[in-house]
Symmetry: C2
Subunit: 309 residues, 2 copies
């Protein structure tokens, strides 16, 4: 396989993701006084590997997973099967693939601080190659002004590149981060995009720059909400609600998330693939929020197609 | 659809499961002083419904779900699709189905008491009909003598019907209750069987009687272990290990369990389908038990093909 995307070396993309991992962890550690990220390097038998940075039991984050990977080699069969889960249709012959990405999930201690997820990725195989990524916010309690502020950052990021991106990728996020069996969204959404496949050198630059900007937007969009809320008082009921909301996060990741499924099937490192799962979660049978409570208000806002801006 | 399996009315099977639900809940409540089962009846828009009995925050059980259902109507598309998940191959025409079952998952408080699961089910569609079921034990800490005692009860149940059943269905359980991405079994296994499709009236009686006996064996095999351990002292580390083991239980149910997948796709009641999930679970990044600890000993015993008897 040609290790280039037009003028861009695959390794350049992967190095950028890896540097972003370092930068983000450095920033996040400034919000912790008692712990720092551990670093686990792993190798994939069939080719490539990754660097997992995880922090547990911090003042701010109960669990923070910032995971970089770069894997390659013979294209695994599950990518070639001609079904709804495959990403390469009708490919029987021998082929090679290359995939690199950065995935972040942060589970804060304080229920007033939302869970956040970010991913940037690049995939290449058989003369096809594309970028993907996204950022989405899962507040335990939805606060409209915060959702608006968060989405405004994403829109600013998108608008620099294409006036359609925010609308399109916001809709895509609503569809993607959706827990079908609960008939609810995972949170207040954000942006999601996949298979941005450049047709020429200029487009390759454009998409790569866009993905970089998404990566740089992550902390800008999220940290203000963390700083604002991380020391807010909370009670037992609010902590309990956090555990319930986290169990739905776990449901999404285990049942629907394509990144998790890709990981489980691609023989990556299991502790890295599942590092996104919450440190603690509760499944309460038939949970019903009190009428007009903040909990009920939040659950009523877990809908597609809300215009936060 | 003919609502009979040879001489047996479908409703007779369903009534038996429903009575078993009542009997088991009555017995389990004797082990609780502070709470009893709540009863939720639900209806499925497309046909049928169920009765969910769930108990929370008991002295003995932190969460106990005993779920009966009887659903029928037009065969849903997901059962007809010709892929690995379908249970009816190559069926395009209009068809009706009937499914009834009893599913039990008990999550005890005390980490010395194992999690237990039991299921008995009957499915019919398009001139095909079969029984299925199983019982499997998930100790937080594997105790060989308890696993042996438990398996001996299952073998006794099986041997009355066929000398091959225990061996065959024990192997099947090892394969079925397997968390592939962890390369570990869910617990010490038990028995699992599916598609016991009778070819004549005698076989129909035989299989129905076997499934009844499995249902009756459940408490006989499990309650002695509960009584023996429910008041044992435990420390924080043991409780933590329980939460970790429970998160793997959640992984199995959400990623692999066919009953859960059937439920999610058949538009049943979501709170019933997911009632098997643990009341509280923890995902600790890169958990490693101490050398030669009880935790390590247990993890080393989560393997297929251990002969407990």
């Amino acid at each position: 396989m040609n290790p280039r995307l037009f003028e861009i070396e695959h390794s350049e993309i992967s190095k950028w993701f890896s540097q972003l991992q370092f930068d983000i962890c450095t920033e996040l550690e400034k919000h912790e006084s008692n712990v720092e990220f551990s670093t686990d390097k792993w190798q994939r038998t069939e080719g490539g590997g990754g660097v997992s940075k995880v922090l547990s039991n911090g003042n701010t984050f109960e669990k923070a997973a910032v995971l970089f990977s770069e894997i390659y080699g013979d294209t695994p069969d599950f990518l070639k099967q001609n079904n709804q889960h495959s990403i390469l249709k009708n490919i029987d012959e021998k082929s090679e693939f290359y995939a690199t990405g950065l995935s972040i999930v942060l589970h804060p201690n304080n229920p007033w601080v939302p869970i956040i997820h970010m991913n940037t990725r690049f995939f290449a195989a058989n003369n096809t190659a594309w970028f993907g990524g996204g950022i989405d916010l899962t507040p335990i309690y939805v606060v409209d002004s915060e959702a608006k502020q968060f989405h405004t950052h994403l829109k600013t990021c998108c608008d620099t590149f294409n006036n359609q991106y925010y609308n399109d990728f916001k809709l895509w996020a609503d569809d993607y981060f959706y827990i079908q069996h609960r008939n609810e969204t995972r949170g207040v959404g954000g942006i999601f995009f996949d298979r941005l496949a450049p047709a020429n050198s200029d487009e390759a630059e454009h998409f790569f720059n866009f993905v970089k900007e998404v990566g740089k937007t992550f902390l800008k969009a999220y940290l203000p909400i963390v700083v604002e809320n991380k020391n807010k008082d909370f009670n037992t009921q609010q902590k309990e609600f956090q555990l319930i909301r986290r169990s739905r996060y776990a449901e999404f990741n285990l049942v629907y998330d394509k990144g998790t499924q890709f990981g489980l099937q691609s023989a990556g490192r299991i502790e890295s693939i599942l590092a996104s799962l919450p440190p603690m979660a509760a499944w309460q049978y038939n949970y019903m929020p009190a009428k007009n409570s903040l909990e009920e208000i939040t659950l009523n806002k877990l809908k597609k197609n809300i215009q936060w801006i």
